[in-house]
Amino acid sequence: MIAALLENLGRTSRTTVTGVGYATRMLFRIIRASGGLWRRPRLVTDQVHFIGNYSLIIVGISGLFVGFVLGLQGYYTLNKYGSEQALGLLVALSLVRELGPVVTALLFAGRAGTSLTAEIGLMKAGEQLSAMEMMAVDPIQRVVAPRFWAGVIAMPLLAALFSALGVMGGYLVGVKLIGVDEGAFWSQMQGGVDLWNDIANGVIKSAIFGVAVTFIALYQGFESQPTPEGVARATTRTVVFASLTVLFLDFLLTALMFN
């Protein structure tokens, strides 16, 4: 019984360490292979277009509805203290510092991340990656690296869109529906949101989430078993690992950035 437990523990530890080793090596391979992308920026811009498109609608609509809810909840809370004029500030800070980067990263993992894993996994299952290797083309350089950088670039853009539409949602509910003063809504926001401490840190956060989510998605696809079941499992792992990583990193980054 104890021997079996120890054996399982040993096997799990070894598998985990091996997995981390493989992942680290792949990340370095991606970075090393990225130099060539300066000569062919089109490979990255095309992927920014595709990956951005995957998530654009879901991120936009989610941002709007999160803004609606923030408007309602924020008004409900602030009204108790007679501070409903600060609704714009509350909505904007909640979005740019926290909800924008985090919710966008979670949505991105569910939408674009799973697509990336399935795409790479199916390319592997269909021997397309092997065929590429045999044509003397490195799949890491040609397929993985452009998608990686596209994800890193797309994430902050999508987070910005999420936050912008969220602010619009908060405005529609707070000002147009409930009747908070429009001038106070915008002026409090303008006065209270700091470009570096709030917006820039939010952008840095979402770029780091972009690295984490896109890399996890690509790694899972690249290392998936080349079978329908293997690709399905890899896609599930992408959502689970990416979501947990985003939440863990969010705590870490928030602690570091906002003291």
Partner: protein, 277 residues
Amino acid sequence: MSNLVEIRNLTFSYGERPILSGIGMDFPRGKVIAVMGGSGSGKTTILRLIGGQLQPGSGEITIDGEVVDAGNASRMYAMRRKMGMLFQHGALFTDLSVFDNVAFPLREHTDLPDAILRDLVLMKLHAVGLRNAAQLMPAEISGGMARRVALARAIALDPQLIMYDEPFAGLDPISLGIAARLIRRLNDVLGSTSILVSHDVNESFQIADYVYFLSQGKIVAHGTPAAMRESSDPYVRQFVLAEADGPVPFHYPGTTLARDLGLETLVDPAAIKGRKR
């Protein structure tokens, strides 16, 4: 040097499971060499080892006098520019058209102007009879056509060595005949060397200059197709004549039917012998 590819004392295993043991093969320039054997005999593994996608346990493979070293990625990519490979199901890029699939290696490895690239691609597609299908997507063509597009892509850079992994599997008789003739014709026209991995006896014997038979990771027979047809080797006979039972048994080794049905209680010595195998 008359051999483009030479394999010496090659062994390979997946973990504890041995796949190839002590293989030696020669692939002379300009010839079509067939590597034949049943499923799981290690045929495709040989192609992957030649292509540097797998690292041998021991032994050596040389291409044009240069040792294949799967551990040296940059050197392998340089060597692969001399090779073309046709995968079993074509392995076409599903997001690219037929034209773009064939153009892919040319775009990656050359800086040819668009007009010349277009002409080259159309010529390659013409060689496989699919010039007019250039704008179709892989999902819009049949399996046989996909194999021919993949063949056009494999020869896009006029490789010295072309490897075919089960090129006849799953093809209808018409496509099968076309594929066989194309392999021979392209080999002769391009002056390349072809390695054909297959278990289709008739087509392979029709176009190959020399045949190696593999079984359980070892070469059990080799010679010209004519010699193989006349061979008295029991494995070759079973394979060529497509006999259900022989050196490769019909029944998976194990206990006897009588024992499973409870009609025999003593251990059957033949069953033990079979299990050892």
